[in-house]
Symmetry: C2
């Protein structure tokens, strides 16, 4: 018989994991969400039961995935009466203890990807980091992850914290810099898309040779003339000017 998976939450993570588990042959059993629109939509897609209250989580699921904001995890698991399933959260910066204090069998299932509903992703390429309360639970979580990804690893809560911090820098901060680059382009009505081949090659080289070895530009070669010229060009935007100055100094320090 198919393993049954319930999601508490109907956001981006639930959307993608439900799709991946469905493709791998699991049964999406129940969707619990305060958001009736997205919750019902997800439930309908997989012919799953729908409810708005964590109190009504069925006890006959194999896994309960808490795909909700970090802050809501503790207060939500407290409300759930079911005890038999394995309870799982997907948060990079929350320890296993956040849920292990409330239920018998618990685990962390951290897929290292930025999820947006509706996008096509190759799930097999996404690394998944697993942690569990006990050996038996760990094996079940591993098998589950292994059925949707080619890259499953064991990682404890402490190491996961660092992985999450690095991910924030590589994803959120990098994206912010692209937003700042777009601001500069907009000053002269130039389209951001012109930078695409450059950024793609930058990322390729960083992962192929290591970013430390790939650093180029005015800051690393201490080209003060160009740096000063750029700072003057940013005079009208003090926030951006400060950011440019600080990152350039940081690069030059190497």
């Amino acid at each position: 018989m198919k393993s049954k998976i319930t999601f508490v939450g109907s956001g981006n993570v639930a959307w993608h994991l439900a799709k991946a588990f469905d493709l791998a042959g699991y049964q999406i059993h129940q969707i619990i969400s305060r958001n009736e629109t997205t919750g019902k939509e997800l439930a309908k897609k997989y012919a799953a039961f729908f409810d708005t209250k964590p109190e009504n989580v069925f006890d006959d699921s194999d896994f309960i995935f808490l795909t909700i904001p970090d802050k809501a995890i503790e207060s939500t698991i407290e409300k759930i009466k079911a005890n038999s399933p394995i309870f799982v959260h997907c948060a990079g910066s929350c320890s296993l203890a956040t849920i292990a204090n409330f239920k018998k069998n618990t685990g962390v299932f951290y897929p290292l990807q930025s999820f947006t509903k509706g996008r096509n992703l190759n799930y097999f390429e996404i690394p998944i980091f697993i942690e569990a309360s006990d050996k038996n639970t760990f094996q079940k979580m591993w098998d589950l992850a292994d059925s949707i990804s080619n890259s499953v690893k064991h990682l404890d809560s402490e190491k996961r914290l660092y992985l999450h911090l690095a991910a924030v820098m590589a994803n959120n901060f990098t994206n912010h810099l692209l937003a700042q680059a777009e601001k500069v382009m907009t000053m002269e009505e130039l389209p951001l898309v012109w930078l695409k081949p450059l950024v793609e090659e930058t990322i390729k080289k960083a992962f192929e040779f290591g970013p430390e070895n790939s650093q180029t530009g005015p800051a690393i070669r201490n080209d003060e003339t160009t740096i000063q010229k750029h700072l003057e060009m940013l005079e009208s935007n003090p926030g951006l000017k400060e950011l440019y100055s600080i990152i350039s100094k940081d690069i030059g320090r190497k």
Copy 2:
């Protein structure tokens, strides 16, 4: 008869442009380089003449490409006696005037890419930005660029400055952030490559939806608990801690 192209300089830009022009059917005529090793190697590859001195640039080239560091452009063109060819530099942050004061027909040929010798690049995808001293020269430069790229645009020196500044942020600064992310990974002996699918998806989304619309993470949702946790984790590295703090504040300001 094939147009003849001479390079002054034998670094990464010369390496790639020579390859692209050769593929497009141009004749690589002469390589001038103080570096005898890389210069002779490049000359040999295309059966071109080699010399170490700019004074010895032949007058029978159609184009002389000054693929040398920005700072060296003026002092180098001063030494060149030849006057008939079109003189070209490839520097994002140098104006056309840098060379237009010295020769009759001059142009800027700015390929927006980060070049490393030996890498395979799809030249047709690389945008090339053209500027020239006069209409006739412009047309010749356009035809040359158009023969190796599907994306040729006219851009004046002022706008090119902003494009170069945006490129520094999108390329050099982004790479620096990946280097910092690697430092965090190294603290726990985790490999950078785990972040690859995440970074690739981040870049895809930024160009598809716009980086401003794609921003996620603790800073944009003002998640002070996570930000504080991350800052504590960076206690042993004050430089990195400051960088994290400043970029997070900048994201939160939106």
